[in-house]
Symmetry: C2
Subunit: 149 residues, 2 copies
């Protein structure tokens, strides 16, 4: 077993999962903050130069793991590792946010899809994109096509 | 504290960190495999449709946290959350790999930068890029410019 401790908490307007936009075409433009604990503030040095960040966080209000589940973006079941389902073997969430500004140990960001008070486990700089012409999005692209037709 | 268990292990040609390409211009084209434990195989259903995956893994052979450190890509120190340093408050690694093929519970991938035997915590589909014109890469872009000039 590997033990993790929160390095801070998400401030978000969402207090229940029902409020978080989901499904095809959901926009993630919501502003919020990453409040990092004072003892880790030094680790934010030079983060201001990055436009986007990976936030790795913990689903602290999800249920037991479901290896197969039907996501809000489709009416067919898919494996948990092929979806962003919260019902995972390890309760790890990953969100790309854009960094608006830093205020000490508080990062103001756009693109939060976490609930208020969500524990943050790590932050990493977003460094590069996958070449767009190489990107395939499996069942999600198929579900989008079915919805449009 | 939040406890995590490995869902599987990375198979990689690298057995020590000195072998992993690092620094500016490092290419991550190395092939390897993600060996998922049989009890989680059902969770891989439909993963074949995705060209790229996020692999969230544990640094199981790193040292204590260093909030400020000088990465191999620069000669100046930066905060740990602005780098991919292994010396993090929580020992979480994140790698984007391309999925070559699936063989049961074994995913053959390109782009491994983990050591052989690294514990895998989660796998998620890579769904979209940040708009390239919005991407800024802070000290890393500056270090690249200094190297070129």
């Amino acid at each position: 077993m590997i033990s993790m401790q929160p390095i801070g908490y998400v401030r978000s307007p969402y207090t229940s999962t029902q409020e978080v936009p989901r499904g095809l075409g959901a926009k993630h433009e919501t502003e919020g903050a990453l409040e990092i604990a004072p003892e880790f503030e030094l680790g934010l040095t030079d983060i201001e130069g990055f436009s986007h960040l990976f936030v790795i966080w913990a689903f602290d209000r999800s249920g037991p793991c479901q290896l197969l589940g039907t996501p809000p973006t489709d009416n067919r079941p898919h494996g948990v590792f092929a979806t962003r389902s919260p019902f995972r073997p390890n309760p790890i969430g990953l969100t790309v946010v854009s960094l608006l500004r830093r205020e000490g140990a508080r990062l103001h960001v756009r693109g939060v899809d976490m609930l208020d008070g969500t524990p943050i486990l790590d932050i990493k700089p977003y460094l590069s994109n996958v070449p767009q012409e190489q990107l395939r999005r499996g069942w999600l692209a198929e579900a989008e096509t079915r919805t449009k037709s």
